[in-house]
Amino acid sequence: MNRSSSILSKLGTWEGLLLLILVVTISVNAAIVPQFLTLQNQINLFQLSVEKIIVALAMTFIIINAEIDLSVASVMGLAACAFAVLVQAGVPAGLAILLCLALGAVAGGVNAFFIAYVGIPSLVVTLAMLIGFRGFARVLLEDQGISGFPDWFNALGRDAFIGPFPLSIVTFVVLFVLAAIVLHRTGFGRTVFVIGNNAEVARFSGINVPRVKAILFIASGVVSALAGLFYAARLASVRGDAANGFELDIITMVLLGGVSVFGGRGTITGVLFSILIVLNLRNGMALMNITGHIQTAVIGILLIMSVLGPNLIESARSYKKSRAAA
């Protein structure tokens, strides 16, 4: 009795609902497409979006902090382009990787400076940088495409690294565990929530709010640069529009995971479930020969529904309450 009610109460939460959607998605896919549940397909579906889900982990922190980073896809593109240009200029790929990660930190630092220390809303800053960083990526590559990276670098994006899993997926798993611990088990994670709930209260309780925000945006820059490098490795070539428009998918994954766009609320488990839902939905639709544009539209509808749904339920509840009171 007790146990079943606790399971029911878990199902009533956002994570429970997501789990239900996930199970339905996977079952439907498995029923329609026979090869869906093979390990290779599951690795494939991760691999095709691994750059986005890595960035989604950093974005979770930022949105819980009541900020947003629209520039992530441009930082990914900038890092990928910078890497390509450096390698073409004869810089060893290993050094180029380090330089690009540093470039990501600088890009994140620019965002952090304007948001945390000048005090301009992150929506404006990162929108400007979405244009600006993408602009610099185009300046670097103009209209050419660069390929011909070292073989070991391209192999990083595709070949198995541990067991059947490529390095990018292993990196995601490591970062996920790290993110889960930092967000839910450390003091720093608590300050992220407190600031997201009420930055004023956080300031008066002695939290260095600008510092926390700066750390988050610099981390977001580094993680985006890393993801951009994985993207370059997976495609084995880079163009100026690399990773263009990825921010929509990334933000969708985080918000669908139950992270409040107003900050202060969200769990890494919810984000993991929503990542799995988005990946399985896209993969299932692709296997059913549904075009990429329709897939994007379905994700768009999911994004709106993920906020509209709870709002409607809440409205219905308060309506019922007011009727009952009357």
């Binding site: 929506l123 300046v139 544009h293 539209a297 768009g300 709106i304």
Partner: protein, 344 residues
């Protein structure tokens, strides 16, 4: 100087920057002050200006509309497609169709934001993708070409309504300027339009004052959609060849023009004159860079991003120092009355 309103000061600063930009490029580019260059800038302003006005109204209510680029695409394509089969449609009806289609798209955004209480950034990020997908599916990978369009529409961008000296005013430019004039007068004179400022500067106070805030926000999204529809019509006339990528990225350009034009991103303040100056500045830089030999045209986006950051940073510091100035004046006044004795 002291009696000037900070908004006016900001407009003057913006105008000075604009004049400086034009002078700079005229020293760099040969034959800069030609009617041809002017027309190039004016016709690209004609497309962005209506979107920027709509975006400004949405931003003034503390929201954002990222779907405008997709609305421009939908309207340009569908109206072009319809005119291809119904060439006899009266121009005024074609324009009405464009406005109505845009308003319809805008009302979807408005419904979800105002009555579904979904944050505008989520709604319009979603509809940005949804509207574009609709266009891709609707078009079936076909392209609208000038050959299928009626001649009055194809000739429209070259048509000069009137000219002052050597400067010719193209019809599509006048259309955009008329829209700007209408909204400028409405926003500064009409009680209905003043509600936009009220809701943006303090939503709670606006509700207490008896303003139906959700309805004002809804209306701002519908107007933003309708103005994007107007831009779609002008876009169709200007380019004639419409593919599914029509209007891609216009949302960023409109937000840039609005922010550079001094509309407060926290809502509540901004002017159409500022938006006009912001749009002209952004488009002047955009069009001049393609002609400037020193840097490649690939610098356009990078410079645009930096321009927005500079404008916003300058704005932040200006409004902050004005705030300090105001509180200082207030303190001095209370001191004079012997009330604020606490201040040393």
């Amino acid at each position: 100087m002291k009696n000037l309103h900070p908004q006016t000061l900001r407009l003057i600063a913006l105008a000075i920057v604009l004049v400086g930009t034009v002078l700079f490029f005229s020293s760099q580019i040969d034959n800069y002050f030609t009617p041809r260059m002017l027309n190039r800038i004016a016709t690209s302003v004609a497309v962005i200006l209506p979107i920027a006005i709509g975006q400004a109204m949405v931003v003034m209510t503390r929201n954002i509309d990222l779907s405008v680029g997709s609305i421009v695409g939908i309207v340009a394509y569908i109206v072009g497609d319809y005119l291809g089969t119904h060439a006899g449609l009266h121009p005024a009806l074609a324009l009405t169709m464009a406005l109505a289609l845009g308003a319809l798209c805008g009302s979807i955004n408005g419904l979800l934001v105002s009555y579904g209480r979904v944050p505008s950034i989520i709604v319009t990020l979603g509809t940005l993708a949804l509207f574009r997908t609709f266009l891709v599916e609707y078009s079936g990978a076909r392209t609208i070409t000038t050959t299928s369009l009626p001649t009055w529409l194809v000739d429209l961008p070259q048509q000069t309504l009137f000219s002052i000296g050597p400067i010719e005013f193209r019809t599509i430019v006048v259309m955009a300027l008329v829209a700007a004039a209408i909204f400028w007068m409405a926003l500064s004179r009409l009680r209905m339009a003043r509600k936009i400022y009220a809701v943006g500067s303090n939503p709670d106070a606006a509700v207490i004052a008896g303003i139906n805030a959700p309805r004002v926000v809804f209306a701002s999204f519908v107007l933003s959609g309708a103005l994007a529809g107007l831009a779609g019509f002008i876009f169709l006339a200007k380019f004639g060849n419409i593919t599914v990528v029509a209007g891609l990225g216009f949302e960023l350009k409109s937000v840039a023009a609005v922010v550079v034009g001094g509309v407060n991103i926290f809502g509540g303040s901004g002017s159409i004159v500022g938006v006009l100056l912001g749009t002209v500045l952004v488009d002047t830089i955009d069009n001049s860079l393609t002609r400037w030999a020193v840097v490649s045209e690939f610098w356009r986006d990078a410079l645009l991003g930096m321009l927005i950051m500079t404008a916003v940073t300058a704005d932040t510091f200006m409004s902050r120092s004005f705030g300090r100035m105001k509180s200082k004046v207030a303190l001095e006044k209370t001191d004079a009355n012997g009330v604020g004795a606490k201040k040393q």
